[in-house]
Amino acid sequence: MTASPDTRMKTEEIGKEGRVAAIAVENLRKSFDALMVLNGITLRVEQGETLAVLGRSGTGKSVLLRIIIGLVQPDSGSIQIQGQSLSGLSVDELGVLRKKMGFLFQHAALYDSLTVAENVAFPLAHHRREMAKSERSDRVERLLAEVGMETSLDKMPSEISGGMQKRVGLARALALQPEILLLDEPTAGLDPISSREIDDLILKLQAEHHMASIVVTHDLFSAKTISNRLALLDQGNVVIEGTFEDLQQSDISFVSEFLQHP
């Protein structure tokens, strides 16, 4: 399946649909000891939109996602998920927001003592306890079929390839039908063909589910393919934010250099 840009919603159409952003990051700062990783990041993602966050290794892209999902606490700044601020939330309140978000880790982070099917069923078993076992099994099979892994239900994560693990990770991230999807380097470590397959899969899922997505990547081709807008980070700041064409037309030297040598 070849990726089609036409499956992505145009940004101006997205903006008209909702007034409250799905994800709103305002002046976010984070340091680890003396190292400033995020130095006042401001970003906004509307429902149905995909924002690709690019940058060199170590520029805080993954930290940004971890702060949004609440795994890391920022030093200052604010994050709002569908209008609700993350700061000062109790564990239960944070849990309510987390159930609206799906997270794909860079190395999939599958539970290695569970089978592929059990991995995808894990969130359902904990948050949909009223769901009958047969209904849960059906849902798991549908999710795995959606990502092309329907023949690997009983396999262990160690028995499947990295690309397959990413697919299962995506299926698990979608288990609770999230409205927001956070993807940390979805094509990292994959060969070009597997990377393009993951890109096509992400595009298909976005077209079907209309989630707000942030994709952290250093794969420029992938970012250009699956996103509506791109944000390029450098030294903890957003250097530029816009479409790929905006980046190409930018006269900022770092942007030009990044596009030539991503």
Binding site: G95, M101, Q106, A109, L110, P123, H126, R129
Partner: protein, 227 residues
Amino acid sequence: MTPPYEWRELIRQLDEIGSKSLPLVALAGAAIGVVVSLEARYTLSRFGAKSLFPSSLVYSVIEVMGPIITGLVVSGRVGAGIGAELASMKVTEQIDAIEASAINPYRLLAATRILACIVMLPLLTVAADICALLTGWFAQAMVEPLAFRQFIENGFHGATFNAFLPPTFKTSVYGLIIGLIACFQGMRTTGGAEGVGRAATNSVVLASLFLILADVVLVKFILVVFP
């Protein structure tokens, strides 16, 4: 302590910590029974008190050797296992994935393991005690005929609640120590494979050390509260 409770994981851990430690604990208990029997027989013979052999073996095993040997064996097997398992999950972001799924990793992973240790240690101690008494009697009977019934009657003669139950149930404290230390070491790991190894080693060493130190306090506590 509030619901929902992770019953499935708790049952899995009860099996992992209890059932799967049983053969090792039984073997250790059996070995200790023989050792204590041989030593007790030799020492009591020197002082002309061979008739006290059954009760000396029973009290030694149930009050002292059984609990501490069970604790140390479980500390090694279970402590290392929990420490390594959780450390491996930590460095491969599985614990982060659990948290990102709006599931409390401490409730799911730590609480279940700690509770399983607390519940299973006394049961494993009873198993070790039984094996130790059986092999202790057998070791004695091989040298000098002693009917098993006579051994039991003499050994438990005058036994009271205070003599046997508190020493057995103090092993729940051992379980708490093993579970807490192993879970802490595992879930706070950093540093990849080296960190996993360090977590496993630290779990065993620290749990064993604190278990022995706790025994000092617990023995005194039992002697005071259950005279």
